[in-house]
Subunit: 210 residues, 2 copies
């Protein structure tokens, strides 16, 4: 069995604890004979995926979450469905921050991802078209444009997550999740959270279709 989480930039695959990613325009079909379950937040990538795997099963109807949030991305829903209490941060091309309490989803925020910030600065002014240094000490007082931008990005994102966490455990995933998790004591980085939710949904699917 293979799981696939179709995002805006990449398709993330999971098989027996192993994960890998592929670009939507270059999907490998070597896993053609396996049973494939998927979720998607990108219509365009989903089309490419379904051309390769026309029999793939959409898991969205089997992911359950107690929430009043309208339009919660199915990837966020999948992760939240396996965490009863805590802050869930998925740091990719966008950074989503969801709050779970007693098994209920209270709400969530969306920030631009680090990569998007970089692009953004260069569009504001040529003078801001610099490659930020994300390894800077957060306590440094910026003394040039590069430091001013780098610490502007880092501290605004980190401060925001800190403020939302209120001491709760923070679960990081996504391409930049590992990087951000090191700034928080009470945090875990787990790249397979979304697949944990999908595995739970596969069980639900099997229950119904057995």
């Amino acid at each position: 069995m293979i799981l696939c989480d179709i995002g805006n930039t990449f398709l993330h695959f999971y098989q027996d604890g192993r994960v890998w990613k592929e670009k939507a325009n270059k999907i490998s079909t070597r896993h053609f004979e396996n049973e494939i379950f998927y979720i998607s937040v990108s219509c365009k990538s989903e089309e490419s995926f379904l051309r390769c795997f026309p029999h793939a099963i959409l898991l969205a109807p089997y992911i359950e979450l107690d929430t009043t949030y309208v339009g919660l991305g199915i990837d966020r829903k999948s992760i939240c469905s396996v965490i009863a209490d805590g802050i869930i941060v998925d740091a990719g091309s966008a950074i989503t921050i969801d709050i779970m309490q007693d098994g209920s989803h209270l709400g969530g925020y969306i920030l631009p991802g680090v990569g998007s910030y970089l692009k953004l600065y260069s569009e504001i002014s040529e003078r801001l078209n610099l490659m930020p240094d994300l390894s800077l000490d957060l306590d440094l007082m910026p003394q040039n444009t590069k430091e001013a931008i780098s610490l502007g990005i880092l501290k605004s994102i980190i401060g925001f997550i800190q403020e939302q966490s209120c001491g709760k455990k923070i679960y990081f995933s996504g391409g930049d999740g590992k990087f951000f998790s090191k700034f928080f004591k009470n945090s875990i980085y787990n790249e397979i959270l979304v697949f944990k939710g999908m595995l739970k949904a596969v069980e639900k699917y099997r229950e119904i279709h057995s």
Copy 2:
């Protein structure tokens, strides 16, 4: 006497306490006979400006600030030069946050401006191409994508400024300065701060050239 602060988007003018802005490609030359002093952070707009006002006097050499920051924009330098203690926030196409203490500039940060964030989200994903609602209550827990983006932008910027202020007085200027100032008790919005610094520099200029 007229003062002109040449920015990335607009040229801001000042005459006898009155301020107005003009686009670089549509500069009115009705003030042609007046003595004009200027500062600039945009080479391109400065060229257009100098074609209209070839005898304008550059004030940059007369703005003094005790700082070790390399490459501080002359507009930021001008504002900081008239504030001995406090946080200076210029909220325009970019948001600059400078820290002054005992007449010295300790350093500063650069965040994207609100308008830039809006453009950014639409570039990450079609689903995020929404017009945010910046009038939302900050205590609201977002329950849809629009609220998640709006409060993501607002709270990350406001939280960042709050964290830097450490109870010091906050001086806001720039197109979005008035909007942001209302979120802070210990704050002032003053759109002529940059011109105050320029007036001080004009005095310096007159001293030297009298």
